[in-house]
């Protein structure tokens, strides 16, 4: 394979672990085996304990608005080790866990120690996304 093609494939493959479509907390709580289907066709399972934890930190009205997994967007343009969380409810959840004051807008920038904290708390309900073009 041509080395450019190989590299393009490598970049493209960085995100094959992502779901085709995210599912709401409301739907996942109703599933016997909560999961979403990934782009590569495999199933991605969520731990029930994490879903229950999330259901405790947001109101019941917000269950249908929180889409899982929460995406931790990594982009070299944001600076090494910096990630972005988008979405109102997603931002609320992450701010709550980090005990961070919420800024206005629907975006939240988090740094490596904070990402670690989030991943430790929500290992199955968060996923890394590698932003291929543009990050801001």
């Amino acid at each position: 394979m041509d080395e450019d093609e190989f590299l393009k494939k490598q970049i493209k493959n960085l995100n094959t672990h992502l779901p085709k479509k995210r599912n709401t907390l409301e739907k996942l709580l109703d599933m016997e085996k909560p999961h979403v289907t990934n782009r590569d066709g495999s199933d991605y399972r969520f731990k029930k304990s994490e879903l229950n934890y999330l259901s405790e930190i947001i109101s019941e009205k917000e269950y249908s608005k929180l889409r899982l997994p929460i995406m931790i967007r990594v982009s070299p343009q944001l600076g090494r080790g910096t990630s972005k969380i988008t979405g109102k409810i997603e931002k609320k959840v992450v701010s709550e866990i980090l005990d961070k004051e919420r800024e206005k807008g629907e975006e939240l920038l988090i740094y490596r120690p904070e990402t670690r904290k989030i991943r430790k708390k929500l290992p199955t309900t968060t996923q890394y996304v590698f932003m291929i073009s543009g990050g801001r």
Partner: protein, 214 residues
């Protein structure tokens, strides 16, 4: 991979193509570096969890065996075997996979390991409380062992992926990007040379025309 610049056409078109390739390689390098960093962080966090879980298993197993010995003293071997037979059951272990940045790792959810005292199937009036204590401790230990197995497998899978990603980052950083940069410099140098030659040629032609006119 070819090295050096023997096969390179020193044209502007080639230079443009090369610049695009460098841009792609640098973008790939940055993204793979981010992936490697994130994998390393995940690896160490899971390693810490593994340590904690291993300690927990050791502790719980020790306590469980201590209680078992005491239960043996009180109830006797034969009676304990009968109790064991009576309390046999299947455990629901839901085993699946999940994905951490493209790394397939096991997913395990265990239910009903810990039982209520009345669910164990033996006669409470005829057994010592030590048996209950030992049973409870073993159930806790079993839960911890299953969780430990999941984390252990995650750590191994992450370590393998870190190695692969490191190799890719290094090959981009130390082989591909320097070679492309070298080729770019070669073309730029040849183009500058051509430009100088053209200028010189033009000057000579101009001088010739001027001398012919005079």
């Amino acid at each position: 991979m070819t090295s050096g610049s023997e096969n390179i056409q020193p044209t502007r078109g080639e230079l443009l193509k090369l610049k695009k390739r460098i841009e792609l390689a640098e973008r790939g390098h940055e993204l793979l570096q981010e992936k490697r960093d994130a994998l390393v962080t995940e690896f160490f966090d899971h390693l810490d969890t593994l340590k904690e879980k291993r300690e927990k298993v050791d502790e719980e197993m020790e306590e469980a065996f201590e209680d078992l010995i005491e239960a043996k003293v009180v109830s006797g071997n034969l009676s304990l075997e009968q109790i064991g037979d009576a309390s046999k059951r299947d455990i629901d272990v839901d085993v699946d996979t999940r994905n951490i940045m493209g790394v397939r790792v096991p997913f395990m959810e265990v239910e009903n390991v810990k039982r209520e005292i009345t669910e164990r199937g033996y006669d409470l009036q005829e057994t010592s409380p030590k048996v209950d204590e030992a049973s409870e401790k073993f159930e806790e230990a079993l839960q911890a062992i299953l969780e430990l197995a999941e984390t252990e497998e995650i750590v191994k899978s992450l370590a393998r992926e870190i190695e692969k990603t490191k190799r890719r980052v290094n090959s981009l950083e130390h082989v591909l990007i320097p070679r492309l940069e070298e080729n770019k410099e070669y073309i730029e140098m040849r183009l500058e040379e051509q430009e100088r030659e053209d200028k010189f040629r033009m000057k000579r032609v101009k001088q010739k025309i001027e001398s012919q006119e005079t």
